[in-house]
Point group: C2
Chain length 218, copies 2
């Protein structure tokens, strides 16, 4: 193993592993959902979001690779739990796909933003580069807003869906943390200043609520 002077800690490798598999699995699900788009334009837009996830994945892969760590090894512990999250939140319609893509993109960005200050400077730069490349989901905002304005029953169903997505994300995140002691300690230490894990969850809930509002679902 070739390590530079700043080999990432075990907890940072776990963090990057969970983020990398989050990106790779999001790519896979967005690509699958894109296939069910009602228009070619919608299909192209969701496919573009999927491709952006791979851009982020490759930044993490390169970053780990510079320390001689294979991204596949770093991701392996998180595959089953993240796959379980996606299995429990498989969209049944194009609008559910858009809501999931939009809210998932935002949740991911929240998480990157929170951890940016907890990691070594090299990893912090990586996180900033990923964050600078988010925001590909504005089209989802327009499409969901338009569909909800036209149909209040649709709006209510999608609002439930949006709340369920947050619930499943939090439940699955708690299961990841429960299984990975070093990652748990890292998050507890990192989030300490802002009220610990409970504070972190509140931050994410507040941001999720704002995004629901932008979709017309609050």
């Amino acid at each position: 193993m070739t390590t530079g002077g700043d080999a990432p800690t075990a907890a940072t490798v776990e963090l990057l592993g969970v983020l990398a598999y989050g990106e790779l699995s999001a790519f896979d699900r967005l690509a699958e959902d894109a296939r069910a788009a009602p228009t070619l334009a919608g299909r192209a837009q969701l496919s573009t979001m999927a491709a952006a996830e791979i851009g982020h994945f490759r930044l993490i892969e390169d970053h780990l690779g510079r320390s001689g760590i294979a991204v596949a090894d770093a991701m392996a512990p998180f595959v089953a739990l993240i796959d379980s999250y996606h299995a429990s939140t498989a969209p049944r319609s194009w609008l559910e796909s858009l809501v999931k893509a939009y809210l998932g993109d935002g949740l991911g960005a929240d998480f990157y933003r929170e951890v940016a200050g907890w990691v070594d400077p090299g990893t912090g730069d990586l996180v900033q580069r990923v964050l600078a490349d988010t925001g590909h989901s504005a089209f989802a905002e327009r499409e969901v807003q338009a569909a909800c304005a036209a149909n209040p029953a649709q709006r209510d169903r999608l609002a439930l869906w949006g709340r369920r997505l947050l619930g499943e994300a939090v439940t699955h995140a708690q299961r990841v943390v429960a299984e990975r002691d070093e990652l748990a300690e890292f998050i507890v230490l990192g989030s300490g200043e802002k009220g610990g894990v409970a504070g972190l969850i509140r931050t994410v809930q507040t941001a999720h609520g704002r995004r629901m509002g932008r979709l017309g679902l609050s």
Copy 2:
């Protein structure tokens, strides 16, 4: 419609439409095949190839957009035929997926390279930018070579598969041209210097044969 001084001709719009849907559908199929990868590393590599197709798709989308043309409109005439090509060449194994990804990537590059000289300078620049971003399939070369070296029966099956892929690609390309008069005329005129359509097909066959050799399938 806002057009610059160099609005693309109808034939160029058709050419860019067929290329754009070629990229979007390749993204979709590669993403689907990536899901069946036997390893996380293989899945990440095929997913990365898929994402590169979207990069090319977006270059075409932006290029058409500058002339006020929606890429979805330009692609629409070609969806059924390109989908039919993919349906007739759905891989049944990971190695078939890799062979299709590798040979398809090469065929696409051949086609871009040939048309680069026939189009207006602005479109020619676009084609060069796409070509500069090919070559994401070297990993497929290694995996297919290794599998064939270990198993001659496998090699024979994959060699048949590689020949069938070229046959289906040529058949479907001929159907596209038969249905689109302006595109046909454009290709006949463009390829004139190099022996016309028959010369173009020979060039593609020769390059395909070289790629089969690099996979260990000649």
